[in-house]
């Protein structure tokens, strides 16, 4: 790889091709695009939209929980609301957030490809996502489901609400996820630039690759489980109906065979983002590249062996509970390896505290705390008290909101200049980051305590002694909401009025910065030949657009 500042300036000054944002500006040129970057942007806009919808429901629920008794909305609305919150946040935001939006955008850039392997399938994935979202939302508007996003039978098979369309929506969304995963795996296998062997691949690519494996292997099992529930609702097949000899725990097995690995679908790409950004802002090679890369695969693999820890008090056998409990401990190890290596990356680096770095710090803290409480929850006997209480709620929000959303925001800020070629206001970025991290703690630390105290989740009314902590949590949630709104405002302003950013404002040596910002439609004028590891900061010149040696 030869880097030359002169080249990069030459290219930035007089681009050979228009960048992807200006290569056709009609609506159709977006809706019918094959460009992975445009698909990524469309995903990005959609997931941010749904994030705010889901967040709104969360705030409404927190508002209700100010009072222990009936208040503000009735029980049925509340139950529909947490169901909707869960489904939107998981299927419409977290699962596609980083892989489909940022993965689509940067993964081909990182491996020096001109596009993903199946561009049309990629676009199809977006439309499948939209149709799944439409079906689910339609069902929600016409009666809504009140089963929680877990759809546990036999409640989901007997609930008088409109569960079937919501099930169908989730089913369809699964296909979007599968298509994206399939595309990424094939892309990584077949479209790497010359010289880019597996052991040079950026760590974000590794983690997205691992995520895709989970998407391929786990999602179909969810699909069939939801399908059986649908058939049972419509046709009375009785597979999970105890009155017909069915086993409700079987549904939980099939559901968690998907949904536990799905947790890693949500967190693995986030880990990839952190692996990239921590290097870029420490200006340092990844400490233990192999360890981080292989631990991604390790999580993807071992993550499948642990689903039973959701069933410790569900009537699962004590023996199998023990097996799952022990296996769950090993998943924690891979995360620990990553955490230590990220911290190690800072060692003897050259750290600068920009907005993404604030999110990295938040991420590390939330991941360690959320992760270790997760391992605590997988400790069989402790789970007896904590299962289905707010402790669980707080734990997974630490991982999913704490860690995943922090990484999502880190990615958004880190790649914002790459995607749009604009700079945002750094001061507001830091303000929003601190608001969010503060508000997040204020929201969810009381929930840990509520769980200890014994408040079960999905409670519309609660005994009065839980009120103080609930009020604290609601106050925190308000703060959190403010933080997100600020981000939208200053990023919106940056999009419209922001000044043109440099080609590589962070001086990052991630491979995605080897092309212009924003990149031309086909990414590279000439496919680069990769001769070194990503994030090699032994030399000081920033990588420009490189010429093949």
């Amino acid at each position: 790889m030869r880097l030359s500042e002169a080249d990069s300036h030459a290219l930035a000054g007089a681009p050979a091709h228009p960048d992807y944002l200006h290569d056709g500006t009609t609506v159709m040129s977006w809706l019918n695009t094959r460009d992975h970057k445009r698909v990524g942007i469309m995903f990005l806009v959609s997931v941010i939209f749904f994030f705010f919808v889901g967040g709104l429901f969360a705030l409404l629920m927190r508002f209700k929980l100010l009072q222990p008794g009936p208040f503000f909305m009735d029980a049925l609305s509340y139950n529909r609301m947490f169901t909707l919150h869960g489904i939107i946040m998981i299927f419409l935001f977290l699962i596609p957030a980083i892989p489909s939006a940022f993965g689509n955008f940067v993964l081909p850039l990182m491996i020096g490809a001109r596009d993903v392997a199946f561009p049309r399938l990629n676009l199809a994935s977006f439309y499948v996502y939209l149709s799944g979202a439409t079906i689910a939302i339609w069902g929600m508007l016409h009666g809504g489901a009140d089963t929680g996003w877990t759809f546990y039978a036999p409640y989901s098979t007997t609930s008088p609400t409109q569960v079937a369309p919501v099930l169908l929506g989730a089913f369809v969304l699964g296909f979007s996820s599968i298509l994206t995963g399939l595309n990424f795996i094939v892309t990584v296998h077949t479209l790497r630039a010359p010289g880019l062997n597996w052991m040079k691949m950026p760590l974000f690519v590794w983690s997205t690759y691992a995520t895709s494996i989970i998407q391929i292997l786990a999602t179909p099992v969810l699909a069939i489980a939801l399908l059986i529930v649908t058939v049972e609702r419509i046709g009375g097949f009785g597979l999970f109906d105890p009155a017909r000899g069915g086993d409700p725990v079987l549904f939980q097995h099939m559901f968690w065979f998907y949904s536990h690995p799905a947790v890693y679908i949500m967190i693995l790409p986030a880990m990839g983002v952190i692996s990239e950004t921590v290097c870029a802002f420490s200006r340092k090679n990844p400490f233990g590249y192999r360890a981080i890369a292989f631990s991604s695969l390790g999580i993807a693999f071992v993550g499948f062996f642990t689903w039973g820890h959701h069933l410790f008090v569900a009537g699962q056998s004590v023996f199998v509970g023990g097996a799952f409990g022990l296996l769950s401990m090993f998943v924690g190890i891979f995360t620990a390896i990553k955490v230590f290596n990220w911290v190690g990356t800072m060692y003897r680096g050259a750290i600068t505290f920009k907005t993404p770095f604030a999110y990295i710090c938040g991420f590390l803290y939330f991941l360690v705390f959320g992760g270790m409480t997760g391992v605590a929850l997988a400790t069989t006997s402790l789970d007896i008290h904590w299962h289905d209480t707010y402790f669980v709620v707080a734990h997974f929000h630490f991982i999913m909101v704490g860690a995943s959303v922090m990484a999502f925001l880190a990615a958004l800020h880190y790649w914002f200049p790459k995607m749009f070629g604009k700079t945002y206001h750094e001061g507001w970025g830091l303000v929003a980051a601190s608001l969010i991290i503060l508000g997040f703690n204020a929201t969810f630390i009381p929930q840990f305590l509520l769980g200890n105290f014994g408040m079960p989740r999905r409670y519309y009314q609660y005994p009065e002694h839980f009120q103080a902590l609930n009020v604290a949590s609601t106050a925190g949630a308000t703060l959190l909401g403010f933080g997100f709104v600020i981000i939208v405002i200053y990023l919106g302003i940056a999009l419209r009025w922001g000044s043109r950013s440099e080609e590589n404002p962070w001086g990052s040596k991630g491979f995605e910065w080897l092309t212009a910002s924003p990149p031309p439609t086909h990414n590279f004028d000439e496919i680069p030949t990769i001769t070194q590891m990503p994030h090699d900061y032994r030399t000081h010149e920033p990588p420009g657009v490189i010429r093949v040696a």
Partner: protein
């Protein structure tokens, strides 16, 4: 996947068959093969859910499952197995002929495959109507007089789910094969390029694979 392949396919590899982002045709074929196999993996896991349900309930209701299984028409099931196996052969042959630049032979094989698929569905229809007649139906509709052990309804729930989902795959496979037949008749597949046909064939073989397991589990135990 197959439409990716057939998008710009021409008999003698005209421009357009190789997408701009692939460095070579063999790379592109490799990508498509891999993509198809990944898709097949998702299909396998889709059926895995049903096989799991089957195992759990067979473990719980062994007598009922044995009794119900004996009430299925074993001869029809066996004939269907033979039909599907043979259709797998004809698909494999059609690829072979396309690869040997004998498009007419390939087309004939595809037509044969489609006929076998229809036969399969026809036999399945005969079986289904018998079930409807004797009310050996899933779940709450079960009213079969001859087997009244608990778990019998569960067997038929699984039977209908598994064969139903498999039947849907047969139908999907038939539409893929019809599309491929049309492309073959247009002369799109030859020794230079036959990936589309190959991928469609893979899908059809998977349908066969699933049936190879359904047959003993449902009819023979």
């Amino acid at each position: 996947m197959s439409h990716e392949a057939s998008a710009g396919a021409g008999a003698r590899l005209p421009p357009g068959i190789l997408a701009h982002h692939f460095s070579s045709l063999s790379r592109q074929n490799e990508a498509m093969q891999l993509g198809m196999w990944l898709f097949l993996a998702t299909e396998i896991l889709l059926f895995a859910g049903l096989f799991t349900g089957y195992s759990v309930y067979r473990f719980q209701f062994p007598e009922a499952f044995a009794a119900c299984s004996r009430h299925l028409e074993l001869s029809l099931g066996t004939v269907n197995t033979l039909v599907l196996i043979t259709s797998s052969l004809t698909v494999a042959l059609s690829i072979h002929y396309a690869r040997s630049d004998r498009p007419r032979a390939a087309a004939v094989c595809l037509v044969l495959t489609l006929l076998f698929a229809l036969t399969f569905l026809g036999i399945k229809f005969v079986e289904y109507s018998a079930h409807f007649h004797e009310k050996s139906l899933p779940g709450k509709y079960y009213a079969f007089e001859e087997v009244k052990i608990p778990g019998a309804a569960m067997f038929f729930s699984l039977y209908f789910l598994m064969t139903g989902l498999h039947g849907l795959h047969v139908v999907a496979g038939m539409s893929v094969l019809s599309w491929l037949l049309w492309r073959t008749l247009q002369g799109r597949y030859s020794s230079a390029y036959y990936t589309g046909l190959e991928l469609g064939g893979l899908y059809w073989h998977l349908v066969d694979l699933v049936w190879i397991f359904l047959y003993p589990l449902l009819y023979l135990i």
